[in-house]
Structure formats: C-alpha cells, structure tokens
C-alpha cells in the first residue's frame, strides 16, 4: 500500500452568496491545509474549487499516516521510587503503568536540579489521515468567515446556506465522516438543470474532469472566470466594441454560474441619451450585465450577459434578458425626462416634508443649517462662500427626484447632472456630487473647495445634532453612521491640510441647531447645554482621529514614532485641529529623541504629582516672587525660566512647536539641579508656594505643547 493518496472534499450546497464565494473558498482551502500541516501530514499541491453550489478542496499526495512522535517522560526521583529495601514504591509502579511498560523497561535521567529520576522513552504512532480528516473538515468549515449562519430543515447544523451532499475521498476510499449532519460519500452532483443527478467519482484526480464532461459544471473558479472574460471580450469585439469588465462584477458573475454561456443582447438606441452612470448602474448593478463601449469610450446599445444554461434556443434567453432590462431603462428614461422639467432649486420646498430626524427637523431645516455653515467654512479655506452656499442649498434636492428615488445609489451624481442642466456653475454641480465623499474607508475626498465645504458642513451638522439630542453612538450601535462621518471630517481636514479650527467649527455647527431652544418634549429629558455637547463632539472627533493616527485606515504609514502615549500627551492640550495635533505630535516625537527628554519628562511627572498633592490650594499658578528665592538652585531655575517665558509662548503662537521644545530642552540642567538641591515642600508655606509657582510656570510652558506627564518612563 502506498504511503500517500490524493484527498478530495466537496460540500454541495444551495446557491452560495456570490459576493462571498471566493473568500469562502480560499478560507476553506487555507483552513484545511493549515490543519493538515499542523498534524505533520505531508502533501503536494492544495487546490480549491468553487461554484455557486459547491466548495471543494483537493490535496494531492497526502500522507496516509502522520509521522510517529518520540515521547520522553520523566518520572519520580529514584530516591522516591524505591524504598530502603530497594523495592519499588507506588510512585514507581504507577509511573510505569501510565507509560504502559514494565518497571524494568524504564530508564534513568537527571532532572535540572541534579536528581536522578526514572524516565521513559517511547514512540507514539502517528494518527491515520482518514481519522484526522473528518475533524479537520468540520473545523475548517466552522472557521469560515460567515457573518450569519443559517439552519435548515429540522436539524441544528448551521452553514452559510443549506448543505445537501458531501464527498470525502482519500484515494479511491470514502473517508467515513459526518459533517453538518451529512454522511460523506463518493457522489457529487451535476448542473442543476443540465445534469441533475449523482455522479460517482472514482478518484479525487478525476473530480473536475467528471464534472465538466458528465456534469456540465466548470468546477475551477479561475478557469470559469477566464472563460467568461474571453467569451465576453469576443462578443464585444463582434459588436465592434470593448466590454467594461470590472473585477468585482466578473467575480460576482463567475460566482453565479456553473456553466457559463456569454451572450450579447441589445437595447434601444434612444437610451444612449441617458447619463453614462445611470446606464451603467442599470446594466451593471441591477442586471449584472457587462456594458459595451466603442473605441472612443462611448457606450453602445449592447450588453453582454452570462447565462448559466446552454439553451437549445439561445434566442429565448437573449429575448428574456432584453425584456427584463427594457422596463428598467424605460423607467430611467422617463424619470430622467420628468426630473429635468423643473430646476433642482424648485424642489427645495419638498425637502421640508422629508424628516431628517424627529427633533432635528426636516431635510429642509438641515439644508438651511448646512448652507450657513458651508459658507463659513468655504471662507476659511480660501474658497468662494457664495458657491459653497449654493452647492449646499442644492445638495439634497436630487433626493426628491424620481430617478434617485428609483436608483438611490446615484444620489449626488444625478444632482450634478441636473445642476449642470440648470446652468449652475461647474463647481456647484461638482460639489453636489462630491459632498457625499468620502463614502467609506479608501474613498476619494472632494476635489473642489465648495465640495469640501459642503461635505464638512453636512457631517458636522449631523454629528452635532445627534449628539445634541443625546443619541451619540454606543457600543456597536451607530444608526446615524456618526463614526464614518467623524472619520470623514478628520480625513478631509488632515489630508487636504485645511486650516480649520475644529473647536470653532463645532461651536458654529451647534449654534445653527435650534433644538436647544425647543421646549422639552413631554416625557423627554432636557438637552445638555451647547458647551457640554461641544466638548463631547470634539472629543469624539479627536478619538476617531487618534485611531486614524495610530492605525491609518487606508494602510498608509503612521507618523514615525507615534505611540498611544504621545497621542494622549498631545490630546491633553486640546489641539484645535488635526493639523495642529500633527504638528505637536511631530515636535514631541523629535523632542523625545533628545538626550534631555527623559529627565524633563520625569520632571513633568514629578511636578504634576506635587501640584496634585499640595492640598493647600497651591496650584502653582501664583506669580513667582523673586525676593523669596533662598538657594542658588532656585535662582538658577528662575533665571532660566525668565529666559524662555516669552519666547516659548511666541513659538507656540506661530505653531513652531519644535522650536519651543528645543528652548525648553535647554532648561534641563537648571531643572535637574533644582530637584537635586531644593526641597519643594518646605515647612515654610511662603517658600513652598513660591517654589510651586516656579514649577507651575515650567509645567505650563510644556503643556502649551503637550502634557509630558502622560508619557511613560
């Protein structure tokens, strides 16, 4: 008997979720092969197969037996193993018994303490692959990344979709197993319509050949994908064009068919007058068709779809596909026509009838607030306030158009088309589309000043409003997507280097909310004051920004040398914007590389503790009395402080934190000497207060940049 054989596992299921198929298949393959490796079972190539109705993995030349393992066990010390008469004790016989050998078969070894002990050396036979594989398959399936598993029938088994058959073949033998309540066998099944029957597999090696020849199933995902890609491209060429084949759509279509048959269909030329994004959305997102364009990039009245059936009358399939897309295109064309009969601005009154949030009013109310705020923001980022205000006013109007009602994914984009058709300025039209950006991690930011202003204003309005009514996110509950809004605000300011003061912006946004002045609803809790809400919103924004700095969401490099403690030291000073945080953090990281840093950090911690402890009300904020300096060390520190008392705040005011810290670094000898030679907590309250005042001044100079007492060490 050979020492290895090919292994095949195939789980047959109902139609798997197309967007997840590939990742499920890869995770199944990796989960199985890592378990096989961990058991020490040698093998050749590991291949994954995936179709809408099956997940399979084939392991070539899998060792049938795991290697035997050497076992070394230490028993009781010899002194305890035999009594004075030399007879074995219970400890000795018990050890021999657990090792499964006679006492005489045990050896001797010396333990780390130098005692001679009984020892056992043996080998444990490796487990047989056929015994290990059932649990490996079960574990690998249980570990698949499935957000929500379902049950089926009356059983308790759970999987992403109901499972119906299981193949587990090791060489020519069925591996005895039951997984998800299904007994393993050697029969797969063919295509749901072309070969709806059991197909016996002789060996794992014959898997994809059997399925292709007798089952009308192309089991290998990559093979199927390339057949579709080539078939689609060939059909597009026949129509004198080029197919638009985004990877995600190609993967999705590959996940929807077992036997791909690409075919071209036609739609009426009049629909080519529709906006490109709209046509593509209908064809791609709603129908999973590949659009076709000519050499100049203009869409052609063709689409290519991929059927899962090799029909004897392909005309019927083509006709069916053309029939399905026609009403959608007709609706789109009708709405496009209807919507342009009145200008976008004419829809403003309709927004008053759409609720934004019960307490925060209608979308119309929101638009008025955002318009005001966008104008202010534009002015501060060197933009045109009037353009930003116009864009803000029109930004939500497309929501009440018929087209966006039917194709919500085109919100913003249709607004841009309608604004352009109305003759609005180009920047206004662009800003209407851009104000939804960034939609999520990795999405592009607005490119126009007006777009940035409206995007920021819209998010700030939502954030401050929802915080104001006490519905800030808790745990995983974030129904208003405030987290995404906050991250977007941070990214725009930070990546576009916008000179915006976050504290001012939050205040400005809060001032536009009239909910604070509204009477408390019956049974409701009164709202917190604007100031308290402002602090919460600021901290929420900075907390998101802190995460972004430590782990940039787009995988970009974080600031070199950034640590959670550096973040906290800077955040404690309440920087007024992400850019200000950035400048402070970089200066602090530079400072921490100086030889003076450790000692001055320690001094800051010590001062913070002293000030905290001085219960007598000495907060160190009293003026320093130069006449009460008793020792040289005190006078030295005083002189040193005098030297930087004006220059450091000057540097801070101009944002040159590195220069400020460089000056403060020079205080180190004076600070060290002071702490070496002077007892701060002098029994004389006047002397004590004066010393605390000096230390308080020193600490204030530092906290103008960062709170060093929060650093480690």
């Amino acid at each position: 008997m050979s020492a290895h054989a090919d292994f095949l596992v195939e789980l047959g299921t109902e139609e798997l979720p197309p967007k997840a198929l590939l990742s499920l298949s890869e995770a199944f393959r990796d989960g199985l092969s890592s378990r096989i490796d961990a058991a020490g079972l040698g093998h050749g190539k590991v291949e994954a197969f995936a179709t809408p109705r099956r997940l399979a993995v084939r392991v070539q030349r899998l060792a049938l037996q795991a290697p035997e393992q050497k076992i070394q066990r230490r028993g009781p010390p010899v002194s305890a193993a035999f009594d004075k008469a030399g007879a074995p004790t219970r400890a000795a016989t018990a050890f021999a018994q657990t090792c499964g050998v006679a006492l005489e078969a045990l050896g001797r070894e010396t333990d780390p303490k130098g005692n001679e002990c009984l020892s056992f050396t043996g080998v444990k036979a490796g487990a047989a692959a056929r015994e290990l594989l059932p649990s490996f398959v079960t574990e690998a399936l249980d570990a698949l990344p499935i957000p929500k598993r379902m049950r089926w029938g009356a059983g308790e088994a759970q999987f992403v979709r109901p499972a119906h058959w299981l193949v587990m073949l090791l060489g020519r033998e069925i591996v005895p197993a039951a997984v998800l309540g299904i007994a393993a066998g050697n029969e797969t099944r063919g295509h749901r319509f072309h070969a709806a029957r059991a197909l016996r597999l002789a060996t794992p090696a014959s898997y994809e050949r059997t399925l292709e020849q007798r089952g009308k199933v192309v089991a290998d995902f990559a093979t199927r994908r390339e057949r579709i890609r080539n078939g689609v491209a060939a059909l597009a060429t026949q129509q004198g064009g080029r197919a638009l084949v985004p990877d995600a759509l190609l993967d999705e279509v590959t996940s929807l068919v077992e036997w791909p048959v690409p075919l071209a269909g036609r739609f009426e030329e009049r629909f080519l007058a529709l906006p490109r994004e709209l046509l593509i959305s209908v064809l791609q997102d709603h129908q999973r068709y590949f659009p076709v364009e000519d050499a100049s990039g203009k869409l052609l009245p063709w689409f290519i779809t991929v059927s899962n059936i090799d029909s004897t009358d392909i005309g019927v399939v083509r006709g069916g596909n053309e029939r399905v897309v026609r009403p959608r295109l007709s609706d789109a064309a009708f709405f496009w026509e209807q919507d342009r009969r009145q200008p976008l601005a004419a829809r403003l009154p309709l927004l008053d009838a759409v609720t934004f949030q019960n307490q925060l009013g209608s979308i119309g109310d929101k638009v008025r607030r955002v318009t005001h705020l966008a104008r202010e923001i534009a002015a501060r980022i060197d933009g045109d306030g009037a353009l930003a205000a116009r864009a803000a006013l029109l930004a939500k109007c497309d929501l009440v158009t018929n087209l966006v009602g039917e194709f919500p994914e085109l919100q913003g984009i249709m607004g841009r088309y309608y604004a352009a058709a109305d003759g609005e300025p180009a920047e206004v039209a662009a800003a209407i589309a851009e104000h939804y950006q960034p939609r999520g991690a990795g999405d592009a930011l607005p490119t126009t000043k007006a777009g940035l202003a409206v995007a920021l204003a819209d998010r700030l309005d939502t954030l401050t409003g929802i915080f104001a009514i006490g519905q800030k996110p808790s745990g995983t509950k974030d129904p208003f997507a405030l987290r995404r809004a906050a991250i977007g605000i941070g990214r725009m300011i930070y990546e576009k280097r916008l000179p915006l003061d976050l504290i001012d912006l939050v205040d400005a946004a809060l001032r536009t909310h009239t909910v604070f002045d509204a009477p408390v609803p019956a049974g409701g809790k009164p709202l917190q004051a604007r100031d308290a809400v402002a602090v919460q919103v600021y901290e929420y924004l900075m907390e998101r920004q802190r995460n972004a700095w430590l782990e940039p969401p787009d995988g970009g490099p974080p600031i070199a040398g950034i640590t959670p403690e550096v973040c906290d030291a800077v955040l404690a000073t309440r920087p007024r914007s992400p850019l200000d945080f950035d400048a402070r953090a970089r200066a602090l990281i530079g400072f921490l590389r100086l030889p003076e840093a450790a000692s001055l950090t320690a001094a800051n911690k010590r001062i913070a503790n002293l000030l905290k402890k001085s219960a007598g009300g000495d907060t160190g904020s009293a003026p320093i009395d130069a006449t009460r300096l008793k020792f040289d060390a005190e006078r030295m520190l005083f002189t040193a402080l005098q030297g930087v008392m004006h220059s450091v705040p000057g540097h801070i005011a101009t944002g040159d934190y590195a220069a400020a810290l460089a000056e403060l670094a020079r205080l180190r000898p004076a600070v060290d000497t002071f702490f070496d030679e002077v007892m701060v907590m002098d029994p004389d309250p006047a002397l004590r207060a004066n010393r605390l005042a000096m230390l308080g001044t020193l600490r204030e100079l530092f906290t103008g940049i960062a709170d060093l007492s929060r650093l480690p060490g």
């Binding site: 009356a154 009838a353 609720t355 934004f356 949030q357 009602g405 129904p479």
Partner: protein, 163 residues
C-alpha cells in the same frame, strides 16, 4: 427573468423557528407573460369568452393609475405620520391587555403606513432605520405575546400533531 423566490425563515418575530420555515412565491403575471408571449403585463388575456376578450389592462389599469396617484401624490403625510404613531400606541395597549392577535393587526397597519410614507419619500434615510426598528420592536413583542399565550394553553395544536 425571475419568476420565483424561495425564502427560509430562521426567525419569525425574533423567535427562532424549529423547524426552519420556508416560503415559496411565484410571479404569476410573469409566468403568464411567457406563456402568452406578450411584452406588457397589461396585454395579458384575463378571460376570453362569449362576451369577448378581457385583458389585464381592462381589469387592473384604472386601479394602478388611481392607486399610484394616491401613493405618490395625494397621500397626506401629516395624517400618515399620525396614523403610524396611533397604530404603535394601540399595539402597545393591546399587548398590555394580552391581546396578541389584534395587536398583530396594528403592527400590519403600522408597517403599511410606513410603506405609504416611504413611497411619498416623507422619511429621510436617517429616520428610515428608526421607523423600521419601531415596527420590528412591535412585531417582536407581538410574537412573544402570542407565543406566551399559546404556551399558557400548552400549545394545543402542537400536541395534536405529536399524538
């Protein structure tokens, strides 16, 4: 063209289904369109008898037009918003009185009212989730109430099946 849809119910009203319940639906109009070879649903032959041919258009078109006008143009948003609140309130009161079945009807009415409001685009994306959550909260409570009432009776129909 899709003509059928199959759904597994893992839960109903937030309660786990054991065994899992299934639902299968067919688009009869779509099937009929294939069989009769017509491009528009309104061209379907509804009946062809001694009194002449009656089409789907004859039977349903006026209704479609009038209901669309109501749903998209005339439905009174303020009234519907009030109705939603009233059905929610009524549902909760009926639940307090342990009347699960009439409470269930109030959920259906609240849910329908929400659909009408949605068709009128009277609810923003932000508020939409919250309305859905309100309907869901009601249906959970109704399901639990009904379950409790049947449990108190000892699940009479279930016992009959097992016997």
């Amino acid at each position: 063209m899709e003509v059928t849809q199959f759904t597994y119910f893992q839960q109903v009203g937030g309660l786990d289904c054991r065994p899992v319940t299934g639902e299968i639906t067919y688009g009869l109009e779509r099937l009929a369109m294939y069989l009769q070879g017509v491009e528009s649903v309104y061209d379907l032959v509804w009946a062809d008898g001694p009194l002449g041919r009656v089409t789907y258009r004859d039977v349903f078109h006026q209704n479609e037009v009038e209901q669309s006008a109501y749903n998209f143009e005339h439905a009174d948003v303020a009234v519907l918003l009030r109705h939603f609140d009233e059905h929610e309130k009524a549902c909760n009161e009926l639940l307090a009185a342990k009347l699960a079945l009439p409470a269930y009807e109030q959920v259906l009415k609240a849910s329908h009212t929400f659909n009408l409001l949605d068709a009128r685009r009277a609810i923003s994306v932000t508020e939409r989730q919250r309305y859905i959550l309100r309907v869901r909260t009601l249906s959970r409570a109704v399901a639990q109430s009904y379950y409790a009432s049947r449990e108190a009776l000892g699940f009479p129909m279930l016992q009959k099946v097992q016997a």
